[in-house]
Amino acid sequence: MGYPHEPHPKETVLLSKYFGEQQTRTYDGWVERGGYKTLKMALSMDRQHIIDEVKESGLRGRGGAGFPAGVKWNFMPKERSGPHYLCCNADESEPGTFKDREIMRWTPHALIEGCAITQYAIQAEVCYIYIRGEFTEAIGIMERALAEAYDHGVLGQNAMGSGHQIDMFVHRGAGAYICGEETALMNSIEGKRGNPRIKPPFPATRGLFGMPTTINNVETLAAVPHIIERGSSWYKALSLSNPKSTGTKLFSVCGQVQKPGNYEVVMGFPLKELIYDLCGGMHRGRTLKACIPGGSSVPILNRDEAEACLLDYEGAQQVGTMLGSGGVIVFDDSADMVYQIMQLTHFYAHESCAQCTQCREGTAWITRILRRILAGEGESGDLGLLLELSEHLTGRTICPLADSCAAPVVSGINKFRDEFEAYIKGAKPATAAAV
């Protein structure tokens, strides 16, 4: 990690190696640390070879879906019949997730290098880095770094003297979680409301401005230079449990732990060690009650499941959840799960783009029922109703925001049913928040 804590010996720091170092933010500081050498090398490599290396490395998308990056790049047309685009997804709005912010704040040039290599590989002359509007500091740092990169000829018509055009711009969002969804993000760049598009067509066929487009998360793109520099076999070997999950991953740990922050570990690292060793465990006198390991859109784990969970795509699945974005939210025994789940459904209700009826109405309705339960006015059929509504939110909308709202509700009721029932029976649970 490096910021705000020193790296823990059990971490494997690639992306977070320079977190906390002011000098890395500058072009000179980056070059002193070996920066832009890999880009220079990549610009003389065969494009397909770069794509194959990334495919071979096993790198999977870090934005939430875990789709293999090299496979995605391969969908891009090999013959250009017009502009291609790369969009770097820096919308980072999934509750529990704050890793992309740190990559941009501390190592902006690492992201520029990763984007530039990717642009070259997929023949995209232009990349838009879509940063959520609230990230004012990260936006300023990225803009300064881009200006420096242009000044030093890293970017532009003749990037690093290679004869290739590589342009990169920051596009500032304006407060909409949904714009992290890749097709909504493209609409937002196009100057439209951030409504997700129906797929197909997929972005590689018809994406931004109707042209072939690849969208990748900040962390995915920042990992690319490491793979090109040290080779796919090296990266692939970074895997503690399942060979389908490779490399390092930044886990943003937040909520009720001693030392919240970003921890970079090799895929397959036990969640238990992350919480109890790296994060210093629970607050004094408190015990672990629940954990959401992949950002708020994935099912909640109870203590036993969390302590058995291995942090990779398959390990998360094995305990009934998903790795998602790697935002680890920790709750201790003082947390009121009903209240916290209501907070989360409120988030989705607020952030629904309102395009699909099920999502617009369902997320708001679920939130109202939860509020009623919290107010001591719950009825015996409410839990059944919540589960039924959640069913209607799953797999029936243009994008999975609605599914994300259902995840904490269904898993919450299944795992913490007694807390819900206590409210409904009129006996506030011991953990009840003052509403």
Binding site: E92, P95, F98, A174, G175, S188, G327, F331, Q343
Partner: protein, 164 residues
């Protein structure tokens, strides 16, 4: 919202040149809509109907399209707000770390009666917002363009004084 003073156009002189530079980044004018709305808000503090009309004009869009977009994004103010706009994250991860106490402290020390209302001196507006993407640094607060990590209720009086 009734405007007493005449609307001052944003896109003249340097601001016009800045917009022209931004336009070179995109293959069409519409794509500069979010950047243009940001420029308006940075200048006037909010985005009025007159401002939307100006943006529509310079980008060759309909006023209806501009309004549809401006109202979609929560960071664009469609009404005037206090001189300093305070956004506190209260989503679950920050909530369990005491974000609601931070909100209460801001309301108390700014003199705002309620969330979204502007303080009587016109200085502050306080809002609860969804996850600010800094959950490990609870509670993050955005005051205008200043992103402040790890705010606790006891830090609030000094913060408010700094902006007052």
């Amino acid at each position: 919202m009734h405007q007493k003073t005449e609307y001052q156009p944003v896109f003249t002189g340097d601001q016009r040149r800045k917009l022209d530079e931004i336009l070179t980044r995109y293959p069409n004018k519409q794509a500069a809509l979010l950047p243009a709305l940001w420029m308006v808000q940075d200048t006037h503090g909010w985005i009025s109907q007159a401002a939307m009309a100006e943006v529509a004009e310079v980008l060759d869009l309909t006023a209806a399209h501009v309004e549809g977009v401006a109202t979609f994004y929560t960071m664009f103010h469609k009404h005037p707000v206090g001189e300093h706009f305070i956004q506190v994250c209260t989503t679950s991860p920050c909530n369990v770390c005491g974000a609601e106490d931070v909100v209460a402290a801001f309301l108390q020390h700014t003199g705002c009666d309620e969330l979204g209302a502007t303080s009587p001196d016109g200085k502050f507006t306080v809002l609860e917002v969804e996850c600010l993407g800094a959950c490990g640094f609870a509670t993050p607060v955005l005051i205008d363009d200043d992103f402040i990590d790890g705010v606790t209720p006891d830090m609030v009086p000094e913060l408010v004084a700094r902006y007052r």
